[in-house]
Symmetry: C2
Subunit: 155 residues, 2 copies
């Protein structure tokens, strides 16, 4: 059974905070975030396919992928500000449907009670941009993606 | 005489918004932001010196510099998410005195009444981090830096 995903987003501030535990070692959870072959197996909803064209998950590296179905692919790209193995990823992210509305996320990985706790703090350029992203049903994709990651980690 | 610099920072949101006009063409103002040799001549307060060790102002590029006096150098680094010539710079920035508190800024350049209007929207990871940065007297350095840029553009 999966651990719950909590995604609070308070009124009046442009943040989305996600907390998720995984029943796997930090190194495995971290690797699934920086290795593009693994990432392609879990990120996004089950109904979509991933086409990662660039994913250089090191400090100063860049990334780019398409996620969606064949008739409706969404493009995302960004840069890695900081990548610290088994500990921290700070990266930017831009969805081609919202040009120049760049999100910066800080994701930490830590061991809590023998599990890996992942916490992501996402910061949008405005409260309106945050609310628009939430209105797309983004959280559904995040939750289902983490269920797929559970399965990958258990395989 | 210099144009005024306005730097509003509203309560309760993690933003700093700066607006500044320059009596120079967009291409000159933009170049002074992406050419490290020019940047070193104006960024920061007059009392400090700049040591730029990396400044690759292209989409996906990285930057790093020290700004301060000999006994008290401050280190800054970041990555460029987007650089569009004479139009737009979206970049991250981290001060070594506030590790992992990464700011993302979106700076636009446009012509208004024959002058160049620069608008910078800075987003901090929290309201507290924003207020702490303002408390350092950061704005003093910004205002004086733009006065130095006026002089460079007029030279």
């Amino acid at each position: 059974m999966s651990n719950p995903t909590t995604i609070p987003a308070s009124d009046g501030v442009p943040f989305v905070d996600t907390v998720r535990d995984f029943d796997a070692p930090i190194s495995a959870v971290f690797k699934a975030h920086v290795d593009p072959d693994l990432l392609a197996k879990w990120l996004g909803p089950r109904s979509t396919s991933m086409n990662i064209t660039q994913y250089n998950a090191v400090t100063g590296g860049s990334w780019r992928y398409e996620n969606g179905d064949v008739t409706n692919p969404f493009s995302f790209r960004g840069v890695f500000h900081t990548v610290e193995a088994d500990a921290l990823i700070i990266m930017t992210s831009e969805f081609d449907g919202a040009p120049n509305q760049v999100v910066i996320s800080t994701t930490t990985f830590e061991e809590v009670d023998g599990r890996t706790r992942m916490q992501a703090h996402e910061v949008y350029p405005s409260v309106e941009a945050r609310d628009m992203a939430l209105a797309t049903g983004m959280n559904y994709g995040v939750i289902e993606g983490y269920e797929r990651l559970d399965e990958l980690l258990a395989a």
